[in-house]
Symmetry: C2
Subunit: 234 residues, 2 copies
DNA sequence: CATTATAATATGTAGCTACATAATATTGTC
DNA sequence: GACAATATTATGTAGCTACATATTATAATG
């Protein structure tokens, strides 16, 4: 096959190995031949096999270890990649007009759950920000955020009535680590009041915590308006 | 830096470029120099830059096009990779004992929303399966699934009281395309009854639709027990 | 002027070599 | 036999060359 071009591409190798996994020729937990042998069998260079294998490892199909070899992942998972856009972009890409509204910004002591999320031992003064992102003047996303001022002192000089803490931090304080949690939550009285809901609705929630090296930056709870859903395709 | 080994690794290149993006030296939408020039500047081979750039593109930091060059993604996103495990593995990896219970399995005509999810034009006979996955004998995940028997006729011969449709399909009918949707939903009467809830709780929902080539295989709504959350780390 | 053919170009891929690195296996020592 | 030192090995990385491919840019043509 591949008449004009006789070379075997890494995608061909990937497909071949993937098929062998899917048809059970290489079952869960099984050890695969070494790259070199697969290369010889399929008639390509080791680097081509390497390329394919790296992709399969990225996709969660196989696991590779130096000297240990390659084996099929024993527990099959569906690996999905999600892009979580900035609220402004998400609203605008849906053709809506974006609006932003600061609800509150104040210095407070770290509450215990926030300290836990950020791996902090002792409470410290933090900037607590609540804000609402709007689509077509209607609540789209409520954000409840804590920022560690010791890590990001400049944020105290920012007018959060104009720029959202989210956008400011993204542009000014890159993170090196990020924890993400997706969940569902019932709209409580406070959130319902802020978002103009009746209360009791199921809301999609993304919690995100970021660090710069070992220094905690911020933790946010982003609560989306009812009906929101996040998509991915594989 | 890198005393013993003077070579610059692709990770170094990646970090360097990433920093330039984060510090604004390469701003959103900006075009980067060609790989070859970056290689010359940083003192490494083009292949090393390529490796780093591919990774940055995978992470959603830059966009690359042949001849068009490399540019910084204009809209910053948080790209997260989630592994969605099979219920059994998820329960067992948390140290729980897994249980499975078939609620119902019957042939029905495709309802319109299911047809829409699967890109089907006309309704066809489908296998409608409802099942409950248990952790320590308590409801963990309720699955409401439709399987197109025309694509997977063998499933009619499977005893779904013993093997879950999910596990059987994963092992026997590989998919080539998969759509995923995350959302939050309020527990209705039926789901509440099945899961032993009071009703009105906010539940985390994953909807998954798969195809083999152009042939629809199945679409599932997976409803998790209250308190469930999905994690990722970047 | 629009439309099509052609050239130019940046990234993508395949193959090669050589060496690095992380494990695992083996051997040596007590 | 237990444990440490050493060898072995499969994957990982860096660099090189040559060519493929997809676009964009330019020139040719009606």
């Amino acid at each position: 096959m591949a008449a004009r071009q006789d070379r075997r591409s890494w995608r061909d190798v990937l497909e071949e190995i993937r098929n062998r996994v899917l048809t059970g020729r290489y079952g869960p937990g099984d050890k695969l031949p070494r790259d070199e042998d697969i290369a010889a069998e399929l008639g390509c260079a080791r680097s081509t096999v390497q390329r394919a294998m790296r992709d399969l490892a990225d996709r969660g199909v196989v696991e590779r270890r130096r000297k240990g070899g390659t084996r099929v992942r024993p527990d099959p998972v569906t690996r999905a990649v999600f892009d979580i856009p900035v609220a402004r972009n998400e609203v605008e890409s849906r053709g809506g007009s974006y609006g932003y509204q600061l609800i509150r910004a104040a210095i407070e002591e770290t509450p215990p759950p926030v300290a836990a999320a950020l791996d902090m031992r002792a409470p410290l003064p933090m900037l607590h920000v609540e804000a609402l992102h709007l689509m077509n003047s209607r609540p789209f996303l409520y954000e409840d955020r804590w920022v560690l001022t010791r890590t990001v002192p400049e944020i105290e000089t920012v007018d959060l009535g104009v720029v959202s803490a989210n956008e400011w931090l993204l542009a000014n304080k890159p993170y090196s680590r990020c924890d993400l949690r997706f969940s569902a939550e019932t709209a409580g009285d406070r959130v319902a009041a802020i978002m103009g809901l009746e209360g009791g609705e199921a809301l999609f929630v993304i919690e995100r915590t970021t660090w710069s090296g070992d220094d905690p930056i911020t933790t946010v709870k982003a609560v989306y308006a009812p009906g929101y859903h996040l998509r991915a395709e594989i």
